[in-house]
């Protein structure tokens, strides 16, 4: 039985309670720093912050239903190698998955982190978040209300979550050290679960009520509905993309602005090949292409761009959907990469972001596998 503590939600709301817990981790000496999402002075914008002093974690926003990009990469930037789990990192499951993948690429150090993730009902697009905040100038009651149906294992209908969240399969991240359970949690509480030995140790000295229960049937019901939504997305993809022309229709309007690549936590190259001389087309070369094909689109190589990005990172796509958020042309990039990524990952029985021990499919091979033999 995993160790589960009760974190009481007081007048500071759920976000406040989680903030309190994070401060406690610092002040008890369990960690030196925390990486934690906080409101800036406006009380609206949310950023990841690296906090060294407990009292400066004063505007906690880890449950506000908006994430300003996938913070997995930023957490990776702020936690040094061989840090001995001295930084607690509070992120969403898709961000934790990015951390696991980036660790394999040595662009984050998962082993230096005390990884803390929450049950996630999905987050809002920036526009939806703005509406949410207009309706709830006081973030605290808005947040607690937002999570109410979720805690009962239901999907909320008042606000539309981002497209990738609608087919997300992870209620909680399996490889975190500590998980904050909300679905099936008793009223007025967030349940803090130690999921690994490191998590267990960190919680050992916490002055919180021990061994609370969560309603597992509610959790299972929600997980089941997630699996159904994912399966629906997959079958929809199969119907929608029957030929490469269908695919080209999905990415039509692409400006090749590279925003999707810039926002992707997994796109790990320091210098993208598309921004090197390799893909610079000279005036002469454009002319030759026009002569050869009679007509050439500008900017060219939309298909080569998307398929190459896939070749580089789709085995590690964590389906966070930040590419979709970043796309000025409203291309469902995250859905595309998730659907294709799943097919490729299946070949290698690989799940991006799940298990740090699984090797990157691109980085290894076996002698007796695949075709031709």
């Amino acid at each position: 039985m995993k160790k589960r503590l009760r974190l009481d939600v007081q007048s500071d709301g759920m976000d406040g309670a989680v903030g309190r817990f994070a401060r406690e981790l610092i002040s008890s000496g369990e960690v030196d720093r925390v990486f934690f999402p906080q409101f800036d002075e406006s009380g609206v914008a949310v950023y990841g912050t690296l906090v060294g002093c407990a009292e400066d974690l004063s505007a906690p926003a880890s449950l506000v239903p908006y994430i300003n990009g996938n913070k997995g990469r930023e957490a990776g930037m702020g936690v040094p190698k061989n840090g001995g789990r001295r930084t607690a990192v509070f992120v969403r499951p898709c961000e934790a998955r990015a951390i696991v993948e980036l660790s394999k690429l040595m662009q984050a150090y998962r082993d230096s982190m005390l990884l803390v993730t929450c049950d996630c009902p999905g987050t809002l697009t920036l526009d939806e978040y703005k509406r949410f905040r207009e309706e709830h100038p006081e973030a605290r009651e808005g947040v607690d209300g937002f999570y109410e149906p979720f805690r009962r294992g239901e999907r909320h209908d008042g606000y539309t979550v981002r497209e990738c969240c609608t087919f997300c399969e992870s209620l909680a991240h399996p490889e975190s050290d500590i998980r904050l359970l909300l679905v099936g949690a008793p009223d007025g509480a967030v349940v803090v679960e130690a999921a690994t030995e490191a998590g267990e140790q960190a919680l050992a000295k916490m002055a919180m009520e021990n061994s609370v229960d969560v309603d597992e049937t509610v959790r299972e019901r929600f997980a089941e509905s997630q699996r159904e939504c994912h399966a629906e997305m997959e079958s929809h993809w199969d119907e929608r993309v029957k030929s490469v022309e269908d695919f080209m229709e999905l990415v039509q309007h692409c400006r090749r602005c590279y925003n999707c690549r810039a926002e992707c936590p997994i796109c790990y190259c320091r210098e993208c090949v598309f921004q090197t001389a390799t893909f610079e087309v000279s005036q002469e070369a454009f002319g030759r292409r026009a002569d050869q094909f009679c007509v050439v689109k500008m900017p060219p190589d939309t298909l080569v761009f998307h398929l190459t990005r896939m070749n580089h990172m789709v085995t590690s796509c964590v389906s966070c959907g930040q590419c979709t958020e970043a796309c000025p042309q409203k291309i469902p990039v995250g859905k595309i990469f998730s659907a294709v990524g799943r097919r490729v990952q299946e070949v290698f029985e690989y799940r991006a972001g799940a298990d740090p021990a699984d090797e990157l499919p691109q980085a290894v091979f076996r002698e007796d596998e695949l075709e031709p033999r």
Partner: protein, 155 residues
Amino acid sequence: MEATVNEKTPAGRSEPETFEPRIIAFVCNWCTYAAADLAGTARIQYPPNVKIVRLMCSGAIDPIYVLRALTGGFDGVLIGGCHPGDCHYQTGNYKARRRVTILQKILEGVGYDSERVWLRWISASEGGQFAATVSEMVESLKSRGPNVLTHNWNK
């Protein structure tokens, strides 16, 4: 970086009956390239549809080369490497196999016919095998028809 065929090929002009697939072959210097050479010196007949590009190893294949070829006017891409265990650099062919598998799965995922990309092991002594592979690929591509990407400018 240009990977296009030389002839001017105005949009949609080739009739299905006269369709001659264009193949680009990326072949390893130590095996398939020598096999192609051998096929030539031994005067083994094979269709002239293939243009050969020599790589130092099948493991040097970058998916960008393949994608550029498929959007640049070729109907099929053949990648030739040494048989498992025979790679001049020990493991390049195994890496190529992973890379090509990933590429093929991606192509399938976006609705493209991944059978236009072939990876085959052909050793330096297998001139006949090289010729047979090219003939087989030409037949396969003829039955598949022209590459839809060649004359689609919105790519």
